[in-house]
Amino acid sequence: MPRTFKEKLLSDDFLVTAEITPPKGTDLNEALEDAEILRGLADAFNVTDNQRAVMRMSPLAVSKALLDKGHEVIMQLTCRDRNRLALQSDVLAAYSLGVRNISVMSGDHTTKGDHPRARPVFDIDSVQLLGAIRKMKEGFDLSGNEIGGMPDLTVGAVSNTDLSKPMQLLKLRKKIKMGAEFIQTQAVYDTGQFQTFMEHIVDMDIPVIAGVIPLKSAKMARFMNGNIPGINVPPEMIELMENAEDPAWEGLSICAQTIRELKGLCRGVHVMPIGSHSRTPELLEMAGIRKDN
């Protein structure tokens, strides 16, 4: 029997999680094929929730489809699109369908997505949602009504690794206090900076899974530096990309080196490719990661 994500979290394994994007439409094939590529390589798939505020299929349906294929999922849940009733309602639905891992986050604002006039909800925030789920695990909803409980639900959260933002660290502390059992981060490029972050939060004693995004071009690196909060691609990496004959391969190679460095620093990596996972197995092989579960 394959061990669960929770059991792996409690072990010393170096974990691999991978992002699966729900379809913009009703066809699940692409998402399922993407996951299939990583069967045996990824410990769990993060199913994104209207990522970047772009409307897509509900992560609940995609999670269920992945579960049916024997994959383990981490369903993402943002506070942007649902009030406290809908959030709890979806947590119950997910649990009843077999989802055992949920990762919560505020979510990008609606103005950043493809329905900019949509009314953002943010009825409760990620700290409060973690608290709500903790209460639900114990058998009660936010109003204290009995709901039966869901003891084997594992809950995660996300964090920035930028130490220049003390408020981010404070919020991370609050998330852990409210029941976060693991943390996934924004993409890491500067492992030195990441190491400092890890040293800073050593007292928090929580498994950290570091995000990685393979670069495809120098242009993409510059775009991310300029536009994605919490991402810092060092200039020498951009230069490597600039001079590469095969930038996509160079990006994989840089990413593999990053993963190798991360192995000694945290509990796993979270692979977020732009597009599909077609080259993720190659990336993991270059990074020396093999799974045999």
Partner: protein, 203 residues
């Protein structure tokens, strides 16, 4: 104060397209201070409407458009209002709504209402308060995150701010950055450690 701004005159004309014999009602509170409903603006509105071919039967600038006792009280002070077939209110939505409750003719707004804000040293500051009914602004150094954070986050910032600027508006400081700096300055960073429950109650 309620922050409101003047609608474009063309939009007001379009609203009043079918109307004539208009009475203009300003507001000597917030709208006057913001120069969108005081006496000068009301007189200017009268001129522009007349230039556009409308008959203006009169005008008044009461203390506050949002505090009107009755239609009779309005008439008592301004008999001309009886001739009016429409009222244009140069105030916030609350003023327009209050006048609408007592008026016997259609009431139109000349302003857009934006937020509850303030004015300090000449600067108009919008979105100071979200009117949530549970004031906790002290815990945030006097800077209300419900009012100023587009995600209304009260337990700390989202991951979307960049270089201290808001995810939604790069020209705007992240309110959590401001809260941090303010509490640091007054030596009360400890207030930030509170965890707020979903009802906005501190731990």
């Amino acid at each position: 104060m309620i922050i409101s701004s003047a609608k474009p005159f063309e939009e007001i004309l379009e609203l009043l397209k079918e109307e004539d014999d208009i009475f203009i009602l300003g507001c000597n509170a917030c709208a006057a201070k913001l120069h969108v409903g005081g006496e000068l603006e009301v007189i200017r509105m009268q001129q522009r409407l007349e230039e556009a071919g409308k008959r203006v039967v009169g005008w008044v600038v009461p203390g506050a458009a949002c505090s009107v006792a009755s239609f009779d009280a309005l008439v008592e002070k301004n008999p001309a209002i009886k001739e009016a077939k429409a009222i244009l209110v140069m105030a916030c939505g609350s003023g327009v709504s209050t006048v609408s409750r007592v008026a016997e003719v259609p009431v139109y707004p000349s302003n857009n209402t934006n937020s509850l804000g303030g004015r300090s040293q000449g600067e108009v500051i919008p979105e100071l308060c979200a009117m949530c009914g549970n004031c906790t602004v002290y815990y945030f150094g006097g800077i209300c995150p419900r009012g100023q954070c587009p995600k209304q986050l009260i337990n700390g910032p989202c991951g979307g701010s960049k270089d201290g600027k808001c995810e939604v508006d790069q020209d705007k400081d992240c309110v959590w950055e401001l809260i941090y700096l303010r509490l640091e300055r007054i030596g009360r960073l400890d207030l930030l450690e509170r965890i707020w429950d979903p009802n906005g109650i501190p731990d």
